[in-house]
Every structure is written in structure tokens, then in C-alpha cells.
């Protein structure tokens, strides 16, 4: 399988780096929540907008309200970090973090932002660290979305090559889980490939 110059080795490397990054993130969140998180095997896919849309539809149930936090990150490896957490999970999270029985909407939103902050900072920082490059974070924004239509119809028909790195965050006992998507597109795929190439050269040297 060879897509945009991405070989199985590239995908394997990316999956392993994401695994390591997610390990750090899970530990950070576990620390914050004083809980134990289950690790899941990350998924790597090269797709287009339509593929991304149907992947999101598959991963996120349609019958729930979700908090969707989006954060952009820049640098040689740049893209969008997407964290989706169900309303129910977010409520548990707010409850847990703010230690109140009925967290307000503001508490919940802030808790979600806080969690996303830690997730994105740890995952992306670790990923970029492994890839020997720097990263700049932009201000995240959270919105509540009914169902799983995260991509507008107009955008679905746009042609973009996208690398989807995704995994699940799961804290079983606290009933807190969410989906993580790291998306990078078009030109960025090339520069990501170069970064991985360097990493592969080190390995095969």
C-alpha cells in the first residue's frame, strides 16, 4: 500500500509514535482525574473529506450530544486536533474535576477545555518531540453539537488528502471517554512524511 508516498513503514511508525504520545497523555489525564485509563491501539488512515466524514460517523454515535473541541497546531507538522466527548461523559468529567454535584454549563465547558488542553499538549508535544520538530498551539474552541455531523456538507465535497490519526480515551470507572482525532492535510502530509523518513533512516542506519 502506497499513498502519497506513505508506505506501511510510515504508517507503522506514526502509529507507534502516537501510541507513545497517547501513553503520556493518558498518564497526564490519569494524574488529573486520579484514575486509571485504558490504552487503545491508535488508528491511522489516509483518506479524503468524505472518508473522514464517514469515519467520524462510524466512530461517534449519532444519537448523542457532544462537546467538540477543536485546536489548531502549527509547525512542520501542523493540523487540527479534535476531541469529541459525549454530553454524559462531559458531565461526569465536570463533576469529577470541579467536585460539585451539579456542574454548571460553564464548569463543564471549562473542564472539557482543560482536558483537551492536556490531551493536545501532551500528544502533539510528544509526537513532535519524537519527530524532532517544534509546535505552536492555538486557542482551542469548544461547541456543543447534536449528533455526529462535525463536517459541513459543503466541506465534504472539498478535495483534500487527509491523514487521520485517531484513538480513544477511556476512563471506565469514571464513565469518561472521548474520541481523539488528529488531522493533517495536503501539503502537510509531505512534510510529515519527511519527518518520518528521517526517523526511519535513524532506525535502519
Amino acid at each position: 500500500m502506497q499513498q502519497n508516498g506513505f508506505t506501511d513503514d510510515h504508517l507503522d511508525m506514526l502509529r507507534e509514535l502516537m501510541n507513545i504520545a497517547m501513553g503520556n497523555a493518558t498518564a497526564s489525564i490519569a494524574d488529573l482525574l486520579e484514575a486509571f485509563g485504558k490504552m487503545h491501539i491508535p488508528q491511522i488512515m489516509i483518506s479524503d473529506m468524505e472518508g473522514l466524514d464517514s469515519y467520524i460517523q462510524q466512530t461517534i454515535p449519532n444519537d448523542q450530544r457532544n462537546y467538540v473541541t477543536k485546536q489548531l497546531f502549527g509547525g512542520l507538522f501542523s493540523g487540527e486536533f479534535l476531541f469529541v466527548i459525549s454530553e454524559e461523559s462531559a458531565l461526569h468529567l465536570g463533576h469529577h474535576l470541579y467536585d460539585v454535584d451539579k456542574p454548571s454549563d460553564g464548569d463543564i465547558l471549562d473542564a472539557v477545555i482543560e482536558l483537551t488542553n492536556i490531551l493536545s499538549a501532551t500528544i502533539i508535544s510528544r509526537l513532535t518531540e519524537e519527530l524532532n520538530t517544534k509546535v505552536q498551539f492555538f486557542v482551542p474552541s469548544t461547541e456543543r453539537v447534536d449528533g455526529n455531523s462535525l463536517i459541513s456538507q459543503e466541506d465534504i465535497i472539498n478535495y483534500h488528502r487527509i491523514i487521520i490519526i485517531s484513538t480513544e480515551m477511556e476512563f471506565q470507572h469514571q464513565n469518561i471517554n472521548g474520541q481523539i482525532f488528529i488531522l493533517t492535510k495536503d501539503g502537510m502530509i509531505g512534510s510529515l512524511k519527511e519527518l518520518i523518513d528521517r526517523k526511519l533512516e535513524e532506525l535502519y542506519a
Binding site: 506501511d8 498518564a27 486509571f36 490504552m39 491501539i41
Partner: protein, 119 residues
């Protein structure tokens, strides 16, 4: 000396083996890409040490660890995982793992691991 390296990622195995070979050039390396194959190989080959990943398809590292310890309670299993939660560490140590090292393992770490194993 036989050493079994278990990881679903080919590159992760490759990286680990490379680091290992630098220090133990004579070691005979066995590879497995999931827990099930690892347990089977362990049964047949009885390696002196196992480097075992935790998150894997088919059978994960937690399960494989238990199976291996069932076969040989003195088996020297080193858990190599991206999971760096304290609880993950205590769980695997309780299950009989010799130690747990966070991924990725560099030469320095590998040396300290090998020094702690009796091989």
C-alpha cells in the same frame, strides 16, 4: 541465549532488537506480533527473556503475561509499553513481570534492563 520480542508494530520490534543487538550481539531473537503468538513461541522455545508490549490486537500484553507466568513462574518478562501510568506498572508487576520500561527504550535504558536480568 534466546530473547522473545513482542510488539504489534514491526518498527517498534525492529527498534528494540536494534538496541538489544548493540549490547547483546550474540542473542538469538524471536519475534511475535501479538500475545497469542508470543505465548505459543514461549511454550516451544523457552526464551531466557521476553520484551512484551501491552496494547496489542488479538491478545494484549496483560493476558499474555499471565499465560507466560502460568507456563513458567520464573519467566523473565520485561514490559515495554507507552502506558506510563503508575497503575499499569503495579498491575503488571503483580502479575509477575520483572520490570516495566516506558517506550521507547534507548541504549542506556536497555543496558540497565539487561543488567537487572539474569541471562
Amino acid at each position: 541465549m534466546k530473547i522473545l520480542v513482542v510488539d504489534d508494530s514491526k518498527l517498534a520490534r525492529l527498534f528494540l532488537i536494534k538496541t538489544l543487538k548493540e549490547l547483546e550481539p550474540m542473542a538469538e531473537i524471536l519475534e511475535a506480533e501479538n500475545g497469542l503468538i508470543a505465548v505459543e513461541l514461549f511454550k516451544q522455545e523457552r526464551p531466557s527473556a521476553v520484551f512484551l508490549d501491552l496494547t496489542m490486537p488479538v491478545m494484549d500484553g496483560y493476558e499474555a503475561l499471565k499465560e507466560i507466568i502460568k507456563i513458567d513462574s520464573k519467566a523473565q518478562v520485561v514490559i515495554v509499553s507507552a502506558d506510563i501510568q503508575a497503575q499499569a506498572q503495579s498491575t503488571v508487576l503483580e502479575s509477575g513481570a520483572k520490570m516495566m520500561v516506558p517506550k521507547p527504550i534507548n541504549s542506556e535504558k536497555m543496558l540497565s534492563v539487561l543488567q537487572q536480568l539474569s541471562i
